[in-house]
Symmetry: C2
Subunit: 250 residues, 2 copies
């Protein structure tokens, strides 16, 4: 009799081993198949059980369908997603495909530490309190919607975490975003976190007009709110305690 298969959509966090959850580690170790882009497989290659299947960027639908197929055939399958699978990861795609097609497969998302949660502490505490999360990739969202959201987030004085700020093909998006931010905040300071918890990690606070050179597709940009303390490479968004409790001001 064939055993019951299951598909796990596994968030592996920003990349370093120690930010993996206990659950992610366990399902990866006991999987029959671990499927993902080679960039993410590299982070878990040494602990992944079973067979590894590498799949190219931009072939997400194919990757998900293969994973579903293997799970339906009785295998324990891990589909690897960087960070947290809900946040610009594979979770919504698996949810949508299984929902729309009515495919009968047991599946589960294993949440992970997203890039903003890993990057924020490296500046001190940059993303704290109310915040907005926006991707500049217009592969799947029209630019008009991205621009509107960026404007509303700026008007709302949110701390803004910008995912996928730039790639070789999408340089103009970041340039347009910079112009929009400049309208509201001038040539403000922004945080750039590149390769968080990975080789080549860079954590820097720079002026807005310097980010085009610094940000790539493996970067997260943090736009501070009006309350954020910026000092050198430190960014701290307080939660109002100093106002409330009268902390000594340096």
């Amino acid at each position: 009799m064939q055993s019951q298969g299951k598909l796990y959509v596994v968030g592996i966090g920003p990349g370093c081993r120690e930010l993996l959850t206990l659950k992610a580690k366990k399902v990866l170790e006991t999987a029959d198949y671990v499927i993902g882009h080679s960039r993410y497989l590299d982070f878990v290659r040494d602990i992944a059980g079973g067979e590894l299947i590498e799949s190219g960027m931009g072939r997400e639908v194919e990757r998900v369908k293969m994973a579903i197929d293997l799970a339906q055939n009785g295998n324990k399958v891990c589909l690897v997603s960087g960070g947290d699978p809900s946040i610009y990861g594979l979770a919504p795609l698996v949810a949508e495909i299984t929902y729309r097609s009515g495919i009968d497969v047991d599946w589960e998302i294993v949440p992970g530490v997203s890039a903003l949660n890993a990057a924020s502490p490296l500046f001190g505490s940059a993303v704290a309190g109310d915040h907005a999360v926006i991707s500049l990739s217009d592969l799947l969202t029209p630019w008009e919607i991205i621009e509107k959201r960026l404007r509303k987030a700026l008007e709302g004085d949110f701390v803004i975490a910008i995912y996928n700020p730039s790639s070789r093909k999408r340089k103009p998006n970041l340039e347009r975003a910079v112009e929009i931010i400049r309208e509201y905040r001038g040539n403000c300071y922004v945080g750039v976190a590149r390769n968080v918890c990975r080789e080549g990690e860079v954590i820097r606070v720079v002026r807005l007009d310097e980010i085009s050179e610094m940000a790539d597709m493996h970067s997260l940009i943090i736009v501070p709110s009006s309350e954020t303390i910026v000092d050198g490479d430190v960014m701290i968004t307080p939660r109002g305690y100093s106002k409330k409790y009268g902390l000594e001001v340096r």
Copy 2:
């Protein structure tokens, strides 16, 4: 000679053991002191090394100062924060106190899985793509700012994750928020996730006018975007793949 102390601000995730990171587990097990609200200490009591110090809600500054003091005296101290410490947790307070006071102490934030990342999959994939995160607690943020952010997030058609929606003392805030959401979306469906990954977990999609009865301080409310698929207790915010790739529509 006294050994070097260190303060860890440890995100323990939503509460279940398996969503702890490897790093959080390790620092908790090897700590000299583990400090936190009893609600959070209960989740890690069995693995916490050293002495446990329980501290009441609303005494955050005192708790942080005690933790710093112990670390300065050569101890390895874990200050426990629910979810991720940056997101409405203790990270910004530790960052601000050490920054403003110039206190010389070695400290580090250990990120964790925040409530939205844990709750989103339980609906299917509710919080995906661009989203805004707002707390309704006006203990530390004036209500006018909260209201403005809520309006901007609604105008921007973000998925909205609402933290701290209600408590015994703050019922009116949720009622005001409901009225604002209704202005933009009518009596729309919203997701309520209570006690995620803990005893008494409730995952429900209800009409806006039903949430006052359901939401408490241990709940997260998810307001969908115009693109979110809502069907029974399922909420899936697609990433545009179906538009791009022509997935079969059920």
